[in-house]
């Protein structure tokens, strides 16, 4: 799965996610990517989110919308909301999870429980950043 979130000069946020699914998945299986609030969500007031990982876990947890809800209703920071969504219902919903999120100021958060997530960030007048491993 691949995804992107962005903030433009007019203060608009957007999120996009695209995937080939899982190797050997059943024909007709649709994952979290096109489920709004599951794998993809954006609202200018709060944040934009794109998820990757095991789709069934992300859909059952409605994880993209959870990041939004934890920021809007519980007052969490982007980073805290993203990290909490990675752990949400972890006792019942086990599987790979990765979340990319950006708030309305252009701050970014990456959360993942896999140790490895291909990722990058580039803000105006800053150097681009790309990383793979958790330690980077």
């Amino acid at each position: 799965t691949v995804g992107a979130v962005a903030l433009d000069i007019n203060g608009n946020l957007a999120a996009a996610t695209s995937t080939g699914g899982l190797t050997d998945q059943l024909k007709g299986r649709v994952g979290d990517t096109p489920i709004i609030g599951g794998g993809t969500f954006a609202n200018n007031e709060v944040c934009a989110v794109s998820c990757t990982g095991e789709g069934e876990v992300i859909m059952r947890g409605a994880l993209a919308h959870e990041v939004y809800a934890m920021m809007k209703y519980a007052g969490h920071s982007l980073q805290a909301a993203t990290e909490k969504a990675i752990q949400l219902h972890a006792d019942k919903l086990q599987g790979d999870r990765g979340i990319l999120s950006m708030d309305s100021s252009g701050k970014v958060a990456f959360g993942f429980n896999t140790g490895f997530m291909k990722r990058g960030y580039w803000a105006a007048d800053e150097e681009p950043f790309v990383a793979l491993w958790e330690s980077e």
């Binding site: 799965t1 691949v2 995804g3 992107a4 979130v5 962005a6 903030l7 433009d8 000069i9 007019n10 608009n12 946020l13 957007a14 999120a15 996009a16 996610t17 695209s18 995937t19 080939g20 699914g21 190797t23 050997d24 998945q25 059943l26 024909k27 007709g28 649709v30 994952g31 990517t33 096109p34 489920i35 709004i36 794998g39 993809t40 969500f41 954006a42 200018n44 934009a48 794109s50 990757t52 790979d96 999870r97 990765g98 252009g106 993942f112 896999t114 140790g115 490895f116 997530m117 291909k118 990722r119 990058g120 960030y121 580039w122 803000a123 105006a124 681009p128 790309v130 793979l132 491993w133």
Partner: protein
């Protein structure tokens, strides 16, 4: 300068450092850098966040290293099936596609659905017909299926056959 920013991901997997050589690591980083630049260029010219995320994702859909578009995983039948979604945080409009097989850039189809369709999510042949009606590029399996993904699929099929042959694994 007004603030603008883009961030991307190319998937999260449980992978150990020993399972990935330096060459592949560098290729992943190059692919990420290309996608970031595609999105950043849109924003730098004053383009919309919607266009920027599409451009970044298009870049990764073209790159066979990532699991989207060309080089994506294969279903149990050895076929590609793509899902994609795009959402505009300003209007809360959304476009999404599920289980499309021939659309070169599923995220671009999702954007056309967002912009031109009364519905949020189209799947299968209906989505492909919508792509055709809107002059989006379609491609055959020879474009999407890479030797690496074919091999991964064949390994899975072989494992299934071997599992069935193992004594004690039979069910009645």
């Amino acid at each position: 300068m007004k603030k603008f920013a883009i961030a991307i991901h190319g998937g999260a997997e449980t992978t150990k450092p020993s399972e990935l050589d330096n060459k592949k690591e560098e290729a992943y980083k190059d692919g990420l850098a290309d996608a970031l630049k595609a999105g950043y260029d849109v924003l730098e010219k004053g383009g919309s966040a919607l266009d920027a995320v599409e451009a970044a994702v298009n870049s990764m859909e073209r790159n066979p290293l990532f699991n989207a578009g060309r080089g994506a995983s294969l279903t149990e039948r050895g076929e590609n099936e793509f899902d994609a979604a795009i959402m505009d945080g300003n209007t809360l409009r959304v476009g999404a596609v599920g289980a499309v097989r021939y659309v070169q850039h599923p995220i671009s189809l999702a954007k056309v659905i967002l912009q031109k369709c009364d519905y949020c999510l189209l799947v299968g042949t209906g989505a492909e017909e919508f792509a055709l009606a809107n002059n989006l590029s379609l491609k055959g399996p020879e474009y999407f299926v890479t030797p690496e993904k074919k091999e991964a699929w064949l390994d899975k099929q072989q494992n299934k056959v071997e599992k069935k042959r193992m004594p004690g694994s039979m069910t009645d």
